[in-house]
């Protein structure tokens, strides 16, 4: 049991992040495929860190939209990253990601991961990181089309 908990903790290791606009947000973690994801690797892109859970109806409802946004705006510099919160079983998340055909990286998060960005307990929760790596916005609840148009689209190429 301890090994399983340790494995889950190792899977998602946030290094350091800043919720201040002036400093670049930093985050490093392994996605559910075991690949390392570093926020710094996406410098120059507009990154949406989407906190979600498989059991959360609004999170599930917005995933098709995030898949579509990644597909339509990926070439214009958009990168969606999914982070599950509260902690969930890896197998369950993998199953969901496969079934939903999510086209962006997904990792397992913890309360600490989320706290690096905001104390908000809303779900879903989307952190908008601008091209220079700083936190541009924190969107609580489902991402509305008008929010994308007003807050995210203007940041894209």
């Amino acid at each position: 049991m301890i090994r399983i908990i340790a494995a889950v903790l190792v899977l998602f290791v946030p290094v350091i992040a800043s919720a201040q606009d002036s400093r670049p947000a930093q985050l490093t973690f392994k996605d559910i495929q075991g690949r390392y994801i570093r926020l710094s690797d996406y410098r120059g892109k507009v990154v949406l860190i989407n906190f979600w859970a498989t059991w959360c109806p609004p999170c599930r409802a917005e995933i098709p939209d995030l898949i579509r946004l990644q597909r339509e705006y990926g070439s214009r510099g958009l990168q969606v990253i999914g982070v599950t919160y509260p902690p969930q079983k890896l197998a369950e998340v993998r199953r969901f990601v496969r079934k939903a055909k999510m086209n962006y990286p997904v990792g397992l998060g913890t309360k600490q991961t989320k706290l690096l960005f905001t104390p908000s307990e809303s779900l879903p929760l989307t952190i908008v990181i601008s091209t220079d790596g700083t936190i541009r916005d924190i969107i609580e609840g489902i991402l509305l089309p008008e929010e994308f148009q007003q807050k995210i689209k203007p940041l894209l190429k």
Binding site: C56, P57, P58, G141, I142, L144, E146
Partner: protein
């Protein structure tokens, strides 16, 4: 003759007022599956962003959304559609009243 003119004028004003003054309607919509306080905020957010919606109150205990809206701008059917779009299910109309 004078009273007829007054009645006609009154009726004319009354009829034209229907189109001019919006009527605020209040609907209580039961929302199936809404039990998580972390995610119910999306229902409130989506409803408040809907043109014509004036006030939204969410009750997790009663699993319902009480919405006040301008029925010239939005219908209850549209409100249900908005709720369904947040991943929950608007089930039945409990009540509806005009203010």
């Amino acid at each position: 003759m004078k009273s007829r003119s007054l009645i006609a004028a009154f009726l004319m004003i009354a009829f034209t007022s229907i189109g001019v003054f919006a009527v605020t309607k209040k609907s209580t919509i039961r929302v199936d599956g809404m039990k998580c306080s972390k995610c119910s905020g999306s229902v409130e957010k989506a409803l408040k962003a809907t043109p014509g919606v004036e006030k939204v109150e969410i009750s997790l205990d009663r699993k319902e959304a009480v919405v006040e809206y301008d029925d010239a701008k939005v219908t209850e059917a549209k409100l249900r559609e908005v709720i369904n779009g947040t991943g929950f299910k608007a089930v039945e109309e409990k009540s509806g009243s005009q203010q």
